[in-house]
């Protein structure tokens, strides 16, 4: 038992170590200026991609339910946190404190949505759940696009028609302006905060899945009927996993939003393509493998960035345009390749021969 505890702790320590090491390398490259501008622009995105992938892995890998609405929770967290920042700009002047609170607000509002969506949705299973979460993501995105919120001396005004119908006093400001979204956001996100949030996410997810509650969640995934028969409350634990996953997605969304100057909900950032992309990270990293979800988004984006720059240097605009427009196509090809590599008999045989030669066969 001691040995096992150490083993899990060791595996987790390696995961934390990878993140910290990556931070040190990137940070030192940043300071010495050995980093391209496109890469330095990717550092914060790495952080929120990892947060989103790890949090989705909790739903997909540990709860065992396919959710295609992760970008929806990200969207909720992004708008809630930025809204908070805009409202509190004059009240809380210390940007770090304000940002911390904004992150908390983003996570909490996303968690609330997680519970609200989870209650009806978690009655469904498999494909049906995937379809409904997909619809949720799209609905959130479209709702935010018609939402107008303004602030004046008498308080907040809401409308879903247009900015004029807010009926504000002169001097009032429009905070959320429909499809234009929120403009003039303080750029509070930075790489260091991003890494801290990644570590926090890892901490919460890794600790949760090895606790009593995590065991219940995994038990439900493995066999719902048996879990019920030993007295595990299915609804409670499904909802717990789903809302924690949503809260962390909200955290990622908040980090994302504070990295921009203008936040608007477009199909590109909060559409189903985003949800699918996060899912691709999870699948490529390995469903149920938290460390995989840390590595996959970073490696994928680095590789893509590398090729984009290569083609840019070669002046090959056709390929460049194609690649940046068809990111999902690249991912799809990667997924198919991975499927073939992990499941085709020949590939398995080859892997056995090459990798498992020295290792003793696992006890069976």
């Amino acid at each position: 038992m001691k040995k096992r505890m150490n083993k899990t702790a060791k595996q987790n320590a390696i995961t934390y170590g990878i993140v910290i090491l990556a931070y040190i390398i990137m940070q030192s490259m940043l300071m010495t200026g050995h980093i391209s501008s496109s890469l330095s622009g990717l550092l914060v995105p790495f952080c929120y991609y990892v947060i989103l992938a790890v949090s989705l892995n909790l739903t997909v890998g540990y709860l065992g339910e396919l959710s295609l609405g992760h970008a929806g929770f990200m969207c909720v967290g992004a708008f809630a946190s930025v809204f908070f920042t805009k409202c509190m700009e004059d009240v809380i002047t210390v940007s770090l404190v304000r940002f911390m609170l904004a992150l908390l607000v983003g996570a909490l509002v996303a968690a609330l949505f997680g519970v609200l969506i989870g209650i009806p949705v978690l009655r469904l299973r498999g494909d049906y759940l995937a379809i409904v979460t997909l619809a949720f993501g799209e609905i959130i995105k479209n709702l935010v696009n018609v939402l107008y919120v303004g602030k004046d001396s008498s308080g907040l005004h809401f409308s879903i028609k247009d900015a004029m119908s807010l009926g504000m006093e002169p001097g009032g400001t429009t905070i959320i302006n429909g499809p234009q979204g929120i403009t003039g956001i303080a750029k509070d996100s930075n790489f260091t905060i991003g890494i801290v949030l990644v570590l926090l996410t890892l901490f919460i997810v890794l600790r949760l899945i090895s606790s009593r509650d995590g065991r219940a969640i995994k038990a439900i995934r493995d066999n719902r009927i048996a879990a019920e028969s030993i007295g595990i409350n299915i609804t409670k634990y499904k909802l717990m996993a789903f809302s924690v996953s949503a809260a962390l997605a909200g955290l990622g969304g908040a980090l994302y939003a504070h990295n921009l100057s203008t936040l608007s909900a477009t199909p590109k950032n909060f559409g189903y393509n985003m949800s699918i992309m996060i899912l691709v990270y999870v699948v490529l990293g390995g469903i149920g493998s938290i460390r995989g979800s840390v590595i996959a988004p970073v490696v994928l984006n680095l590789v893509l960035d590398y090729f984009l720059r290569k083609f840019q240097m070669m002046g090959d605009n056709v390929v460049l345009q194609f690649l940046s427009d068809n990111r999902m196509l690249v991912y799809a090809i990667l997924l198919i390749a991975l499927m073939l590599f992990s499941w085709s008999p020949k590939a398995i045989e080859w892997r056995e021969r090459v990798f498992h030669k020295k290792q003793p066969k696992e006890a069976e």
Partner: protein, 252 residues
């Protein structure tokens, strides 16, 4: 008072009366068998007892407490644990974690305590580990504690399922065809084990079984179900020699 007292239990699926007027009384510490031809409604009775189905009519008294119509979780808390005809383990969890999942409602700490490893987490996890290892030792599975449950051989999977059920600290243990798929040697050791569980844990056991050697070897009393109704009930040798029972099994 009897440990389990079932009166006039019945359920219909559409037009089919799956179980009708089912009565049974099991005393504390008894090893009771439920037999009958395929499709007689034995597993349905288990599902009624554990709240998977709600009975249309009838009473189920567990240790004097009415549990008919309650939910599975409540019945588990009231003290009925079961195993399944087709083994249902948590296959991607370790053997130890399977048993610890069974201890879920006995060692409680909050999710926050679990994330921050607060003292309540440390204390309860330690107790859980000890209890789970004790149970695994009883079933000679302690050496396999770290293995994934799906990697256990068949016979040991059956044992683990019983260990997990016992972890919930039940008053009544339901075994659904524990000897299914076992060879005569394995069945023999299973019989010894069931007897041992009864004696060691002072357990009341109700089991469904087709293997007549097992049934006649360990069950003290039997009920025979046929087409959802009780055909015969009583001491094992009387029931097995009952001409009606023989007809139901072998035909005219």
């Amino acid at each position: 008072m009897a440990m389990l007292e079932v009166k006039n239990l019945g359920i219909s699926f559409g037009g089919l009366r799956a179980v009708n007027g089912f009565d049974i009384t099991i005393e504390k510490g008894q090893l009771y068998g439920l037999i009958g031809p395929n499709g007689a409604g034995k597993t349905t009775v288990f599902n009624l007892l554990t709240g998977v189905y709600r009975p249309d009519n009838g009473n189920i008294l567990l240790d004097g407490q009415e549990i008919a119509g309650k939910k599975t979780i409540e019945i588990s808390k009231a003290g009925i644990a079961r195993t399944f005809q087709n083994i249902r383990l948590f296959s991607d969890m370790s053997v130890l974690d399977n048993v610890k999942a069974g201890l879920h409602n006995h060692h409680v700490y909050s999710a926050v305590a679990g994330i921050f490893h607060l003292p309540s987490y440390q204390k309860e996890e330690k107790l859980m580990n000890e209890k789970a290892m004790e149970l695994l030792q009883v079933f000679e599975l302690e050496g396999e504690a770290e293995i994934l449950a799906s990697n256990l051989p068949y016979g040991k999977q059956r044992k683990l399922e019983i260990a997990r059920a016992l972890a919930t600290d039940p008053k009544l243990l339901l075994l659904d065809e524990p000897a299914a798929g076992m060879n005569p040697n394995e069945t023999q050791s299973l019989m010894d084990m069931i007897r041992f569980v009864r004696d060691h844990f002072d357990m009341t056991i109700l089991l469904i079984e087709h293997d007549m050697r097992l049934v006649s070897g360990i069950c003290e009393e039997l009920s025979v179900l046929n087409f959802g109704e009780v055909l015969a009930q009583g001491r094992t040798e009387d029931v097995l020699n009952n001409p009606q029972v023989i007809t139901a099994y072998l035909g005219e």
